[in-house]
Amino acid sequence: MSAFHRLAALAVPFTLTAALHAQANPPASAPTPDLSDPEVAHVAVTANSIDIDAAKFAETRTHNAAVKQFAATMITDHSAVNAQAAALAKQLGVTPADNAVSQSLQSGAAEARKKLEPLSGAAFDHAYIAHEVAYHQAVLDAIDKVLIPTTENAELKKLLEDVRPAVAAHLEHAKTLSTQLGGTKAKTK
């Protein structure tokens, strides 16, 4: 799978499985996005903002204490990372530059929201947390395979490396919740 396809997976987490399948059968000549540092910064900020927005939406929908707490942590953590990214960008004199990857992330987020919008109760909790599992997995893959390798500035690279364990912890947290909610969903069926 090319870097482009990995990022497509990041943009639309629900198609992650399909994207991973594509990874096993890479197309012969897939384009690879050559992201500049300002573009990497923009992708990072966009990825954080998307998860903050999803969590804010979840806070208005969920009645589950564990899901509420997860959402609150997502808002706190991704806001802290974005504050750090903004400070670093300012310090480096870098203006984050919009790009195709950020745009596909945003359209993916809009699509995900459309799927969550009609849901409530346990069905919402289940879908939101399943989305968070897929999203954090996709972001982790993008950090490892696209963002860190493409970044040239040492400080920006270090920021991505520093953020990685938090994304990995969020993924584990979401997976644990997903397992716990599996039972909840079965009960409401």
């Binding site: 707490q69 942590t73 706190t76 802290a80 990372v81 520093d162 364990p165 938090a166 990995a168």
Partner: protein, 106 residues
């Protein structure tokens, strides 16, 4: 008299530092004596807590303490009150675990 005893205890007690980085407590397991101070310093970008007896995944039994939210480079401290083993966690991140073994003071 009490002041002297307190001073003697203070003189004998030690301070231990647990660094929080990469979403882990370093060291994750620590043995201290009653009266020792444990200082947690958060080196991560995201806020953390060290919480026993109430946080997610903690099994502190009757022992309850909480550093509260520590933002980057902030410290929280706890003075070990009684002997025993206390498992603690971060309220925000249930994947994070620490173990504090408190032995009787000399």
């Amino acid at each position: 008299m009490i002041a002297v005893v307190v001073l003697l205890l203070a003189a004998a007690s030690r301070t231990h530092t647990v660094e929080i980085r990469g979403m882990e407590f370093h060291p994750a397991e620590l043995t201290v004596a009653v009266g020792d101070t444990i200082v947690w310093i958060n080196r991560d970008i995201v806020p953390h807590t060290a919480t026993a007896g109430g946080g997610a995944g903690s099994q502190g039994g009757h022992t309850k303490w909480d550093t509260g939210a520590l933002t980057q480079d902030k410290t929280g401290r706890y003075v070990a009150q009684r002997a025993g083993v206390v498992r603690y966690s971060c309220t925000f991140h249930p994947t994070m675990h620490g173990k504090l073994t408190v032995r009787e003071a000399h």
